[in-house]
Symmetry: C3
Subunit: 167 residues, 3 copies
């Protein structure tokens, strides 16, 4: 049965680097499942920075919406999903039912054989946003983190690039 790891933290808190190290502890080759979509040049630059840092042991897959499909298609090596928060954002922007999709994906986790390391973001520790959509998003992001954490074997909060063990 797949080992499930959640690594959460703030922006630029070193989550992806910790997640890459953790994934490669589980195998000499690994899949990188990117949920990001390069809508603009800022996001494209951010994606390129992340890609340049990863070495040749990584195979990259794009899964902005169908994360469950990507997990099923990559069950021959450890996977890093970077990140849940962008996946959620993509589902909400596409007006898809994120709750059903998240529940389906979580229900499938026990069937997978290879480890899955999820990266997620803490977005709920600032002032309540004025914008109702931003409030709905941060509520959904917090809920999704709770759901994944409840099913994870390990949960880590990344602080300044260092791991703080939560579970």
């Amino acid at each position: 049965m797949a080992r499930v790891v959640l690594i959460t933290g703030g922006a630029r808190s070193g989550k992806s680097m910790l997640a890459e190290q953790r994934t490669l502890q589980a195998g000499s080759v690994a899949h990188y499942i990117a949920t990001a979509q390069a809508f603009d040049s800022e996001m494209a630059a951010r994606i390129a920075t992340h890609r340049d840092r990863r070495g040749p042991e990584w195979r990259t897959h794009e899964a902005p919406l169908d994360l469950l499909g990507a997990l099923c298609a990559t069950d021959d090596a450890p996977r890093l999903v970077d990140c849940l928060t962008l996946w959620l954002s993509n589902l909400m922007l596409a007006e898809l039912d994120w709750q059903s999709r998240a529940r389906e994906m979580i229900a499938a986790l026990p069937v997978l054989r290879q480890p899955v390391v999820f990266v997620s973001n803490e977005v709920g520790m600032g002032i309540v946003p004025d914008n109702p959509l931003a409030r709905a998003f941060r509520d959904a992001a917090g809920t999704l983190n709770q759901w994944i954490a409840a099913h994870a074997d390990e949960v880590i909060l990344s602080v300044s690039g260092l791991p703080l063990k939560v579970k």
Copy 2:
């Protein structure tokens, strides 16, 4: 002497659920002291969701401003105060002296017999808000958390629904 517990964390980080479990560890019936005021439909829906989750072992009290009065009136069973941040917001909106009220309440804690579990929010880990009122609020919220934590027997940071022990 009452045992005082503080459970803090971001939005939708599972604080209330942890606090409910912690309160019911201390007694088979408990008081739920709600500081929320249902100004609009979004807040009303949020209050209803919380209420529906709680079982028949809970007696609900509303205390948007007079938290000390509510604590004194419910000293026959463990209490959950949900949450300090809304109480602070209510006091500031009503232009009442939150510092005096908070000090009075904290000074009364050693006199209470039954446990008190406070829920609070982390609101100071985002970008500095442009709005001066928002800055004043997050400063006050951080200060109030420090005051309560200094007098608490246990302090827990909720991360993705999991407790991280701080004190």
Copy 3:
């Protein structure tokens, strides 16, 4: 060789107080290196509050930009740098190359003899800011925290005035 400590946390999370205590554990007199610039009355009031709390064992120095110079000039007693986030903000506002300056300062740390306690802020745990400058700042702040944490002997996350050990 100087012992390097990083104390990070949200606004009004008690970082400065923890850092003052930690610095005075290392010596009976200490230097306070302030990076704040009093541009307006709100900031002037905040600086005055911090100064009033500190006792006569502190010598205050102002270093809005030349932090390395201030560290070299105060290597006869433990130092508290309060805070890295304002230093970064000052460098970015002055359109100076913060990355080179940060790398130079970090490279000099092993040469210093007296301890250095850095205070920093968590600014990346809220909703993604709409403003591109705010996004660039929070990315830079997170990166700087990671760099300092990698070279620190101790890293502490301050939560409600209480220290959570990260390293």
